[in-house]
Symmetry: C2
């Protein structure tokens, strides 16, 4: 295992130390492993809390900041945060206006966020939740009932975060978050496995001439394992299932092509050069696009494509200022 | 070789196609392989042109935009752009106020930029040049007389770009660029080799339990090949040579910790958690820090640390608005 680590069991705690020292505008609660904005939530502002297993950076901690999340609970690598962690995050950022939980659809995450929501409500915090389940690859998966949650989460966090920043109330922010979540579809392809530090070896074996189509962000099996294909063929394997799943023509959309951690930007752009004409042919009118590492799987070589059908309100909020470590513009 | 490619010989041309379709605010000259701002250079504004071999993305094309570069000439992977390419970039963006060439110190780059500068001047374009040679690892190297140019280039492009945006003249922009260039020191560590697509196999062999200390951004040998060490020890191997090279206490500084392409963000933050206290102990007062993939070596696992001694003017210009694919804030 060739990684920048000390003790493989300390990866999360030590990465949080780096985040704390690099970003004075964030507050890192080392005990609860919660990253939140250093400034208290403005009175009356709905707070957004997300979280999940670590190893997908910049998701979620890298999206904490003005115009996006208020806090993120960081589980151990590929492990759901505990209810206590999510509760701590929730209580740390509630201004009284309530908290929206943004949850990726993995069984542990869903259960632990639900439990945290109950505990928070018992303590007087209003909580709404949105569960993102956008991965069209498979219906159920290793750790999931229903579809897995992946790249659309970034778009939900951005757009709902912008609406909360404008002062919308909890019901409105939750409603929009659910709308964005429902409008997103994703599909990933792995060229290599990732290696969880505490395991010290690749999560799965993938021969030199094969790839995993529809891989999950923890290396869960996808739809099929096939011979390594050209970027042109891979683009089709990503675009077709998404377009097929939408059914109706998509129209205006926000598109995210995320590297999975071990794939450099030059390959991501090359791949996007193949994806773009396929999207256009399929009636996807790409209004905004992000290319880079936004939701990753440790050091996995691969990429995931996310398409979110976007109305004018979503586009306006997408363009609103955001100041986070992982996404920043307009301010 | 597990990469998103079609024909390995077409990687650059096809990546440029992806850049063109993803970024309507950029103009991609496919024939000359030049990325420039879509808007013509404002009358009277000094233009900044950089470039070099591809495979280091987002450097340089990802830094073209308001507040940073006006154009970048993209050579083939790990291959200097030709004089013709650099000339085309230079002529495309000159507004009459002259052009600053920002060149990383590799023999081919230096010669080809020099030749392009002569051709441009013969065609009536005033050109000044700054050569960045900040890598403290080795004095001469595979493709270099003197030190190699690496991460400080990002800082030069940002700060000189901001000054040019303010309307400073060519002499002033060049003088500041040289000052920033002279104030920077870098040191990289590779945990794995990279694989050049056209070669199809790793550039160098590195056993599973070894790492290359002081590696170059094309995989050139560094100072020593040693047993794989902990992040804590690696941090020391990066910080010590930089601090030693500065000699005098550094004081206020801009710090860049860049992944080399195959190292995920969680490891980069963990490593920075080890680097930060060492910098503090050595009298480096970190005023600004960037962590992420900014200057890469294709899919190499590893990281490079850059420390630039920064005065108030440099910090002010660092904070100025920048709108590029790879670096964006304040607008």
């Amino acid at each position: 295992m060739k990684k920048f680590v000390n003790d493989p069991d300390d990866v999360l705690a030590e990465a949080l130390r780096g985040i704390a020292v690099a970003h004075p505008d964030l507050r890192v609660d080392a005990e609860n492993r919660v990253i939140s904005r250093a400034e208290p939530t403005r009175a009356g502002k709905v707070a957004l809390v997300s979280g999940g297993g670590s190893g997908h950076e910049p998701l979620h901690g890298g999206f904490v900041g003005r115009g996006m999340l208020d806090a993120a609970a960081a589980g151990e690598v590929f492990t759901s945060p505990t209810p206590d962690q999510v509760l701590a995050a929730t209580q740390a950022v509630d201004s009284g206006a309530g908290v929206l939980h943004i949850v990726k659809n993995y069984t542990g995450d869903v259960l632990n966020f639900e439990m945290a929501a109950e505990l928070a409500e018992a303590a007087g915090v209003r909580v709404e939740s949105v569960v993102v389940a956008d991965d069209v690859a498979v219906q159920d998966s290793t750790w999931t009932a229903g579809r897995r949650g992946t790249g659309t989460t970034v778009v939900v966090e951005k757009i709902a975060g912008a609406l909360a920043e404008e002062g919308a109330d909890l019901a409105a922010v939750a409603e929009l978050a659910r709308r964005v979540s429902g409008a997103g579809r994703s599909m990933g392809v792995a060229l290599t496995s990732c290696t969880v530090p505490a395991a010290g070896r690749p999560t799965f074996e993938l021969p030199d001439d094969e790839m995993e189509v529809g891989v999950g962000i923890h290396g869960e099996p996808g739809r099929s394992r096939v011979k390594l294909a050209s970027a042109r063929e891979i683009a089709k394997l990503m675009v077709d299932p998404i377009v097929h799943d939408f059914g109706d023509p998509v129209g205006p959309a926000i598109v995210l092509l995320s590297g999975l951690g071990g794939t450099p930007l030059i390959e991501q752009y090359l791949l996007y050069g193949e994806i773009a004409p396929l999207l256009a042919d399929a009636g996807v009118d790409v209004q905004r696009v992000l290319i880079g590492d936004y939701i990753t799987s440790l050091d996995m070589a691969g990429a995931s494509l996310t398409v979110v059908k976007a109305d004018d309100e979503m586009l306006r909020l997408w363009d609103a200022p955001v100041v986070t470590a992982g996404l920043r513009w307009g301010a």
